[in-house]
């Protein structure tokens, strides 16, 4: 069976109001009302939303342009520390902190990306791990700035201030609404981006870098920009994460976290669909909480699921849904089998 790819699902310009988008927004807008009812809790919604921002930005790099970073936890961590340091050293400000998180992560991304962008494949992957470890090591060793292995503790959740309105984000319920609003903006922006010419160029570079270069694209520049863009989203997620956790610690940027995001995106089907990372993140957290409620060894079962998925449907959950959907459509309309003239 031929593997399907992102490019199989056609570009859809125009309005982002697709059924998948509607479903996603509906779930986002109603989560606080049904999360406790199904035995889960409010904080899970925040966690999932933050990881979704991280994962969707990451998939720009991983799925769309096909550059495999195994060190993206570093930028999540940089965002978390930048947010915390801004609150503790400069001033308590929500927007200031988030901006600092985005800027710090993208600045680091710009420097690292400059070293990476003439590479691809295994060399690219190894270098991202190398740089990720450097950042992690710095976070542990720079006691004076980062608090060493303890990290930054007691990071406040600043109030949301828009004009004269002041809204406290101290409880998880209100923080969820804030994070969900940011996630909604991120989803619409990214959806637009990947369906615009820019997104098609990213996919062209994934398919054939040489050809892209010879039809006139500055491949190095585009690879660099995409890396920075993905680190900016990671930084944003990191800033929100330190706010949710009220702390930042080296664990956030460990190799483990970097691997986790790759696994989520792969299991969900980020290589096949814009919505792949969404499925992957949700599956991971639901597995953690539901299987984790039954057994301590939940990661073993999740790992097994990952292995089975890679063996049977390497395109992930989104790929599975796509194939099942195509089959159902064929069954319900047997006359409508696509006609293809064989040469």
């Amino acid at each position: 069976m031929r593997m399907i790819t992102l490019s199989d699902i056609p570009a859809r310009g125009g309005s982002p109001m697709t059924p998948a988008m509607a479903l996603f927004m509906l779930a986002l807008a109603t989560a606080p009302f049904w999360l406790p009812a199904v035995g889960l809790y409010q904080y899970l919604g925040i966690e999932v939303a933050i990881w979704l921002i991280f994962a969707l930005g990451f998939n720009l790099l991983f799925g769309y342009i096909g550059l495999h970073s195994f060190g993206h936890g570093a930028y999540l961590g940089i965002g978390a520390y930048a947010f915390g340091l801004f609150q503790q050293e400069i001033m308590v400000s929500l927007w200031g902190g988030l901006l600092a998180a985005i800027l710090a992560a993208s600045l680091a991304g710009a420097v690292v990306g400059a070293f990476l962008s003439h590479r691809r494949g295994i060399y690219y992957a190894l270098m991202t791990i190398g740089f990720g470890q450097i950042v992690w090591f710095c976070a542990i060793k720079l006691h004076g700035v980062t608090g060493g292995e303890d990290g930054l503790l007691g990071i406040p959740r600043p109030d949301l201030v828009v004009g004269p309105i002041r809204y406290s984000l101290a409880d998880n319920y209100s923080l969820y609404w804030f994070v969900a609003a940011i996630l909604a903006l991120v989803v619409v922006a990214l959806w637009r981006l990947v369906n615009a010419p820019f997104g098609r160029v990213l996919q062209a570079i994934r398919q054939n870098e040489t050809r892209a270069r010879f039809v006139g694209y500055n491949v190095w520049l585009i690879k660099w920009l995409t890396f920075i863009l993905s680190t900016a989203f990671a930084g944003l997620a990191g800033g929100l994460f330190s706010m949710a956790q009220e702390g930042a610690y080296p664990d956030v940027m460990s190799l483990h976290q970097s691997g986790l995001i790759v696994m989520m995106v792969l299991v969900g089907g980020g290589l096949v669909s814009f919505w792949g990372p969404v499925l992957g993140v949700i599956l991971y957290f639901v597995a953690r909480d539901i299987i984790g409620g039954v057994t301590e060894t939940w990661l073993l079962w999740f790992g097994l699921m990952f292995v089975i998925m890679v063996i049977t449907r390497p395109e992930g959950l989104a790929g599975l849904l796509h194939v099942v959907g195509a089959r159902l459509r064929k069954k319900s309309a047997p006359g409508a089998v696509p006609v293809r003239k064989e040469a």
Partner: protein, 247 residues
Amino acid sequence: MALFVAENLRKRFGARVVLENISLSIEEGSVHGIMGPNGAGKTTCFHVLTGHHRPDGGRITFDGRDITGKKPHQIARLGVSRSFQIMNLFDDTVVIENVILALKQFRRNGMNLLRDVFSDTKLIDQAIDVLDQVGLAHRAWEKAAELPYGERRALEIAVALAPEPRIVFLDEPTSGLGTEATRALAVLIRKLRARYTIVLIEHDMRFLFDLADRISVIHWGQVIDENTPDELQSNKWVARSALGEVA
């Protein structure tokens, strides 16, 4: 004045000198052939001319402009296009997107976030026009990877033509084609010569002698002769070294 000039190009990989001394002068509107035995340095020569490799010495000018050492995308944007001996396409996507991605109008909007791709009918019409030139318009919405070999060859050429280049470098376009497809390709190139300057690496001598206005013969990384096909056939040395049974 010639459109594309290479003077005394040299290129070595480690201890291996691949291009010893290459000089070419390609007139606007001509079909210029490049021939020579295997390993003579023809493809390396194309790689150096189109920016894939940086030359170790010598000078390349295009339309009076020095392009020596420029990057492939910079050279491409000036109006130099190429195809590859080994197929180089965007395989996961449909035929027409291969062409759209190469259109100048699309590339200039490549960073635009508000435009749509496939709802721009002007781009689609333009891409269909290009596909029509190589006889692939009926395949526009099929996956590039699923085309038969000969049509993939034609698509290579379509992608090279899409940016409206002034000069097109074709690296062995007949390689792997049957007699029938080769004949069709000759017809196509004869049609294209009215609009583009064409440089052609070719092993198929009948094909090349039939189409080219002038031919440079490369051997041991040097241009050992350059002349019209008729004159070349009378050169015994060239005949023996490169032409084989045809001459």
